[in-house]
């Protein structure tokens, strides 16, 4: 009995494996379909971010399912928030599903891992919310629709210096997070330049992802008495940090980056995060373009019970739309032609703003949204425009 059961299960295993190998190849080689790969972390540590981006891409696909008279088919691959898995997922999309272009992934390090594969296979890819400069650097096939860490750092430095009138700033960074470290560095550079004071950054504290207690860092900061605290990092840790800062009696404004804009930030932080200020990509109450208004309307139709629209969803939408625009201009689904068209994208009207792709493959954006937490909601505060 036991033996025959085990034999049966072995057979089932073999059957599923052969089904897996043959199943997906049947739908290929249909010239009426243009395949677009989406690789996102849909399981693992970054799953929530990947899910939000995918929603944006899928929404855009629903609204614009056709280009050049052909149907656009999304092929979604999960990369498990893991680098090795990200490379195999990207290789799979290219080799097995024969996609014409790739969108994704949430998280700069996952995008970077796939960079070499899209480059050597000459398949264009668009990063949606990966803000690390290294993603597109030295890679002619990787583009992006969001702004970069240096820009975001500059925006917040400008906000702190000009709007808040800060002279002394303390920085708390999540040292194991590339995003946080990069942002802190660019903020420091920009702020010292603006204020002309080399010692304007009075203290820098480091914490690790998952830390719960920040009293040590905060006590040091309190002693230096800064005008502003800049604390880019993960939303849970940042919310706890703000709570503990307020409990210690630190009353100065605390500002951060786009990762704060999640509902968890407010649920964890409660009343203490009131007044926290962050830069972000998109504001749904005040869309900058016509395309943005369409996006907001369609999003609300699809998800009527959601409070606010995450910026990464808007970026997912923009990535897909920019790709469709490029395919339209290229006049074919040939990856090389799409790449060349993407590289010459100028004044494309996306939901998050007007996009022009520069020589690096990055979107040249010159303004960012600044939001503040007010009455438990992310509220539009300002649009900061930087002239380079």
């Amino acid at each position: 009995m036991k033996k025959s059961l085990s034999l049966l299960l072995c057979l089932a295993l073999v059957a599923t494996m052969t089904a897996g190998c043959s199943g997906s190849s049947t739908s290929s080689d249909n010239s009426d379909v243009i395949k677009v790969g989406v690789f996102e972390p849909l399981t693992g540590a970054n799953a929530s971010g990947g899910e939000l981006e995918l929603e944006g891409v899928q929404l855009a696909n629903q609204l614009h399912p056709e280009v050049l008279g052909k149907k656009v088919e999304l092929v979604v691959a999960d990369n498990k928030s893991d680098k090795a898995e990200a490379t195999t997922a990207a290789a799979r999309l290219i080799e097995k599903d024969k996609v014409s272009a790739i969108l994704g992934s949430w998280g700069s390090s996952l995008s970077m891992a796939a960079g070499d594969i899209v480059k050597s296979n000459k398949i264009p890819a668009i990063a949606l919310s990966a803000t690390n400069p290294q993603v597109t650097l030295g890679n002619d096939y990787y583009f992006r629709v969001c702004f970069l860490d240096p820009f975001q750092g500059t925006v917040m430095a400008n906000y702190a210096y000009k709007t808040l009138g800060a002279k002394k700033v303390a920085i708390v960074q999540e040292v194991s997070n590339d995003y946080s470290v990069g942002l802190a560095k660019f903020f420091t550079d920009s702020f010292t330049k603006l204020s002309g004071d080399a010692s304007a950054i009075v203290s820098t504290g480091n914490y690790n992802t998952g830390d719960q207690d920040f009293n040590g860092i905060l006590t040091n900061i309190k002693a230096t008495n800064p005008d502003v605290i800049f604390a880019p990092g993960n939303y849970t840790e940042s919310a706890l940090l703000i709570k503990q800062a307020r409990a210690l009696g630190i009353t100065c404004p605390i500002i951060g980056g786009d990762t704060w804009e999640t509902n968890e930030f407010i649920t964890v932080g409660g009343a203490d995060v009131e007044g926290a200020v962050m830069s972000t990509f998109f504001d749904d109450t005040n869309p900058p373009t016509e395309a943005g208004k369409t996006f907001v309307a369609e999003y609300k139709k699809l998800y009527p019970d959601r409070q606010n629209i995450p910026a990464v969803t808007a970026l997912g939408y923009d990535g897909y739309m920019m790709l469709m625009d490029a395919i339209q201009r290229a006049g074919s689904a040939d990856p090389q032609a799409i790449r060349d068209a993407l590289a010459t994208t100028t004044n494309f009207e996306g939901a998050t703003g007007v996009i022009t792709i520069n020589a690096n493959g990055d979107a040249e954006k010159n303004s960012a949204i600044v939001k503040v937490v007010k009455d438990g909601k992310f509220t539009y505060l300002d649009t900061v425009t930087i002239t380079q």
Partner: protein, 368 residues
């Protein structure tokens, strides 16, 4: 002279099947290297690297019976050595844009092989430092120390901005594309492990695993034996880590969470603690199996739009299959057996006889 020729001839005569098999494997790799697409190539490369690391973990955990959980840390050392020393000097200033690379290292570029071997030696060196206090003790101290070590290494690499580029990681590592690097080194490691296990050292390893007191009474130095196994394991893991870095082209500290170690623990438990061939089989099954099950993540796998076919399902099914294997094969797929010719022939015979017996009894039942 004549004597050695004779013994070589005798050896070939005795092991001709193995020799033919090895030649076939080499030809197979050669053919695969020419014709396989880059997706399959990547999976095969990953399987070979997992084989190297899992095998070296099995050397300590399976054969010597010491519970070590430091694989991710040793891999990180190997991976970062390759990353730091093989990235072209010209690209370094763009990678280390937050803080420039330490001037001592900034202009040193080594060939891939040298960096790979250096990574192996560095990780063996660190293993010596951890092993010398811990391996003198009995019990779980090694597991605790190695687990702690792999976390410490990750945090050190996160904070040494000028050497490892901290959390940003290093990219633009020259990648390896051919199957020969990974499979060649995997073959070397497999053969080395096989020879080691069947030597007097290997017998000492196993005696320590079975009964430390009896082994000591027989004159086996516990500390030396454990240390040998631990150092060799760390060396091969470092090399595996270096290959991993060169395959992915980028490294960052988050890759080397302790969960990476559990991948290899899974492989050796699945394959059988103390079986070389089991580890090899399990490495390939786990790596290829996870990809093969990917169709479960896609909607409408069978023409029906079932809501359970969503990303993540394949991991559920995969875990279920693992549980089934563990239920029916308590000691892993191979236990402590090896996939030798005798093993295959015996298995074949037993299955055959069982079927003929069944057929005979069925016939007997009919006639009744």
């Amino acid at each position: 002279m004549k004597n050695t020729q004779n013994s070589l001839g005798a050896y070939l005569k005795k092991h001709w099947k193995t020799v033919v098999f090895l030649v076939l494997v080499l030809i197979g790799i050669g053919i695969a290297d020419q014709f396989v697409n880059s997706f399959m190539r990547r999976l095969l490369n990953l399987s070979a690297i997992y084989t190297i690391v899992a095998l070296s973990m099995n050397l300590v955990n399976g054969f010597t019976g010491q519970f070590s959980l430091g694989q991710a840390g040793f891999m990180a050392i190997g991976a970062y050595t390759v990353a730091i020393f093989t990235v072209p000097v010209g690209l370094r200033s763009t990678i280390f844009y937050l803080a420039p690379m330490a001037p001592l290292l900034a202009n040193i570029q080594l060939p891939f092989v040298v960096a790979l071997i250096l990574g192996g030696f560095l990780s063996a060196g660190v293993a010596f430092l951890i092993g010398s206090p811990c391996l003198r003790l009995r019990g779980d101290y090694l597991a605790i120390a190695t687990l702690g070590f792999s976390e410490i290494i990750r945090i050190i690499f996160t904070n040494t901005q000028t050497i490892t580029n901290g959390a940003l990681g290093i990219k633009s590592i020259p990648t390896i594309n051919s199957l020969w690097w990974t499979f060649g080194i995997a073959l070397i490691v497999i053969i080395a492990c096989f020879l080691l296990i069947n030597s007097s050292y290997g017998r000492a390893f196993k005696s320590v695993r079975e009964d430390e007191i009896a082994a000591e009474a027989m004159g086996v130095s516990l500390f030396k034996t454990k240390m040998t196994a631990f150092l060799i394991s760390a060396f091969f893991t470092g090399i595996g880590g270096g290959l991993y870095a060169a395959l992915l082209g980028t490294v960052d500290p988050k890759q080397f969470y302790f969960t990476l170690t559990y991948n290899f623990l899974l492989i050796i438990v699945l394959g059988g603690m103390g079986s070389i061939s089991g580890t090899i089989i399990a490495s390939f099954v786990v790596t290829l199996g996870q990809e093969a099950l990917r169709f479960l993540d896609e909607p409408m796998a069978f023409g029906l739009d079932l809501p359970i076919f969503r990303p993540g399902l394949r991991m559920v099914v995969f875990s279920f299959l693992l549980m089934v294997v563990v239920l029916f094969y308590r000691k892993g797929l191979m236990g402590t057996n090896e996939l030798t010719w005798n093993f295959i022939i015996n298995k074949y015979r037993s299955i055959k006889s069982r079927f003929t017996k069944k057929a005979a009894s069925a016939q007997g039942g009919d006639s009744k």
